[in-house]
């Protein structure tokens, strides 16, 4: 199934791209499983996801937890803790 990925701020700088579309097996059902898949891509992915305090997630533009379900064509985003305002 197809998933759109967005990266922001430090996370964007570490992975080196701001967005991509990936095609994953449909046995990836949660954000946690997607993260496990992404960590296999290399050390910069591990660097982001091994420190749980360093990133936040959103599914379809709403803040999400690792246990949240993902579906085909979802928009998933990874970014650092928020510093606006």
């Amino acid at each position: 199934m197809k998933i759109k990925l967005f990266y922001f701020a430090q996370v964007r700088e570490i992975v080196g791209i701001d967005q991509e579309e990936i095609d994953v097996e449909s046995d990836i059902k949660t954000l946690a499983e997607l993260i496990a898949f992404l960590k296999l891509r290399g050390s910069q992915w591990q660097a982001i996801f091994d420190m749980s305090s360093s990133y936040r997630m959103a599914i379809n533009q709403e803040l999400a937890e690792a246990s949240n379900k993902i579906n085909a064509n979802d928009e998933v985003a990874f970014f650092p803790p928020i510093t606006g305002g």
């Binding site: 985003a77 970014f79 650092p80 510093t83 606006g84």
Partner: protein, 149 residues
């Protein structure tokens, strides 16, 4: 009620005066947050760059606005937040809340900025004359939000 995510400067008083005409409010409370200057010897702030997540930003701000409107009796709420390059001293965020009574206007305005600080996807990068770096999130911002539980 409305939210505005923009690069341009905003004029909170002309916004306030226009919204005031639509309501028979007894009070308005406004908040403005600014780019704070610093000058640590060789390291002097030149500008702030604000990244955001288009689409999610507006949804997050509308959600915070709805939470406030449901929690207090308010006449109107206006939220504006800038992104892009901001100079020292410039306003970053503006919030205006109208209500019949002052306590509700104060509480709602304070609630909105506390939630915005942790839930609206903006990220600040400080650019000095020597370097640039991402601003760290503050633990106190989570605490300030949690006190509304």
């Amino acid at each position: 009620m409305s939210v505005h995510v923009q690069q341009d400067l905003f004029d909170l008083q002309s916004i306030t005066q226009q919204l005031k005409k639509l309501h028979n409010s007894g009070a308005s409370v406004s908040f403005e947050g600014y780019v704070r200057d610093f000058d640590l010897g060789n390291d002097k702030l030149e500008m702030l760059e604000l990244e955001h997540y288009p689409g999610m930003t507006e949804k997050a701000l509308l959600n915070i606005q709805s939470l406030a409107m449901n929690r207090w009796h308010l006449d109107d709420v206006y939220i504006v937040h800038r992104y892009g390059k901001l100079k020292v001293g410039e306003p970053i965020v503006g919030i205006v809340v109208f209500a019949k009574h002052r306590k509700e206007a104060f509480d709602a305005c304070h609630f909105i900025i506390d939630f915005l600080k942790t839930d609206a996807p903006f990220w600040k990068k400080e650019i000095t004359n020597h370097q640039s770096y991402w601003v760290d999130a503050k633990k106190i911002d989570d605490e300030e939000k949690n006190k509304w539980n």
